[in-house]
């Protein structure tokens, strides 16, 4: 496979983590402008773990996801009783605080004779774990997709459990959910926590595949894009946000068909698409149709 294709595929995979993160919160009925914060936290923490503490990659990724999830849970505790624009703005405020904190964050140490570590606004460079361990771009792309598939599989399983249903119920009508015996706050915190961890995992991968991360990598643009991907692709299934990423990065950014006019085309397209399908291409109705068709097809085979 040629290098360009691998890079594009890896990008699609990594951004999918943030899109899934925003999607999980969307399911719980909350609009977050700030999932990029947890992406950033995961990137810095995982990077520090391999570079400064010489941890193995797997452990570093787990730590990044864990810290990001914990941070998201804590932020959730104080913000999740807000809703609508209040919640959206609180998440954005937190993400911007984290981004500026990263601009101020300097933690330099001498590792193997070279000074390295996060260096304020210049970001965190030389995260060379993959190089140092002879992992090729193709192999690292495989790692990204293996983890993405694992996250997706977990989401699919959760969707079939009562917890997953509760998530959708809370998202659709929190009051009705409460009357039906669901502890809305608890469900939302669980959602925020897992959304933070998923974004953190993506961030850890990003830092290692690109060998650097800078505060600019997780500004508001990443957060709002992540939110948009779910709505474009559809909120009926976890594949929706992936479809959104695929359309934007895979089809438009990478094919260079509309070079220089990509956003003019894409922006208008998205607006029109949302008018026709306000919950995205693969929305609940589409998914329910597909399920019914599958069931009928299976019965016909009997």
């Amino acid at each position: 496979m040629d290098g360009f294709l691998i890079t594009v595929l890896s990008n699609i995979g990594m951004i999918s983590f943030v899109a899934l993160s925003a999607y999980i919160l969307l399911l719980s009925g909350q609009i977050s402008f700030g999932q990029q914060a947890y992406f950033g936290i995961g990137a810095y923490v995982a990077g520090i773990a391999t570079v400064m503490w010489s941890w193995p990659l797997a452990a570093a990724l787990v730590l990044g996801a864990f810290v990001a999830g914990a941070a998201a849970g804590l932020v959730g505790l104080v913000t999740l009783r807000l809703s609508g624009i209040y919640f959206a703005m609180a998440t954005l405020a937190f993400a911007e605080i984290m981004r500026i904190a990263a601009e101020l964050f300097v933690y330099r140490r001498e590792i193997g004779g070279i000074e390295t570590g996060p260096d304020g606004i210049d970001g965190f460079r030389d995260i060379r774990y993959l190089f140092a361990n002879d992992i090729s771009p193709f192999q690292s792309c495989l790692i990204v997709y293996a983890l993405l598939v694992a996250v997706l599989a977990t989401l699919f399983i959760v969707e079939r459990t009562r917890g997953g249903r509760m998530l959708r119920q809370v998202g659709e009508d929190p009051l009705l959910a409460e009357v039906n015996g669901i502890d809305v706050m608890r469900v939302r915190i669980a959602a925020a926590l897992s959304a933070g961890a998923v974004a953190g995992l993506g961030g850890g991968l990003y830092a290692h595949l690109l060998t650097y991360v800078e505060p600019r990598s997780f500004d508001i643009m990443l957060g709002v894009h992540a939110l948009a991907y779910g709505l474009i692709g559809g909120l009926g299934t976890a594949l929706g946000p992936l479809l959104g990423v695929l359309i934007d990065i895979g089809l438009l950014e990478s094919t260079r068909v509309f070079r220089g006019y990509r956003m003019i085309v894409f922006g208008g397209l998205v607006a029109v698409l949302l008018i026709v399908r306000p919950r995205g291409l693969l929305d609940e109705v589409a998914i329910s149709r597909i399920r019914q068709a599958l069931r009928r097809w299976r019965h016909a085979g009997d």
């Binding site: 911007e96 605080i97 709505l231 956003m263 003019i264 949302l274 306000p278």
Partner: protein
Amino acid sequence: MVALDLAQNTLDGLMVGSSYALLAIGFTLIFGVMRRLNLAYGPTIMAGVYLGTAAFISLGAPILVVLAIVILGASLVGLYVERLCFRPFGEGARTASMVASFALWMQIEEAAMHLLPRHMNPFPALVASAPLEIGPLMLRADHLVMLAATLLIAGAATYLLARTKLGLAIRAVIDQPRAAAIVGIDVERVMMLTFVLASAIGGIAGFLIAATDAQVTAMIGMWATTKGLVAMMLGGLGSVKGAIAGGLLLGVLEAHAQWFLGPQVRDMVAWGLLFVLLAFWPGGLMGAKALDRTMAVGRRV
């Protein structure tokens, strides 16, 4: 000396804050009528300012013509945003509406970059006189013009809302869209007019800020969206008064933070204040009642 610094910072902050206040008024009007966030508000302003800048650069248009082009451009682009992101969406699709406005943000910014590809462009300066000295304090004349313009527009907006028929219709739609429709108000028309009005106010804010800097950068769209949003939220997104208070507060806070702590911490302080306010005091400075109302709507059984 610290006392003098404090006074000078406060003064500077009030001046810059007045442009934030204008942005917040525009945001508040749109949010009040639509109950949805218009993320393309900043880019709408950018489009107006860029059109004005293009006229200034290529045709040497005088400053008043530039002002007219900016206002007209912002209003037209505002109308476009309303048509594509707000009118076609029902109450049930608020998120879709907001994401559509984000899509147009991207679209408008790219179009603006085609118009003026350079990151920084010159803009006609407002007043080129030396700063006024009031005792030990310095006051830039163009800042004074900005403050005066803000007060004038805020006054006009308040008058419009309180005393005119259109204002009455706008307030009715903000309060009870369905009831307003029943008593014969053309809700769609009111929404459109409010949108255009808010975009024009935003255009003036964009013009003022570009004219005091005598330049305009590609960051102006993002700048207007975030500053306007923060100022509106600080004011509690309930009223024109709240928007002004929020804008001025943000300006003063940033001036002090910049002086004492540097530019990076300045932005952090503004976001930090917003976060703390939302998490622990979500009514904002003046919007407690408005919040009650939105909560009541949300909790209606």
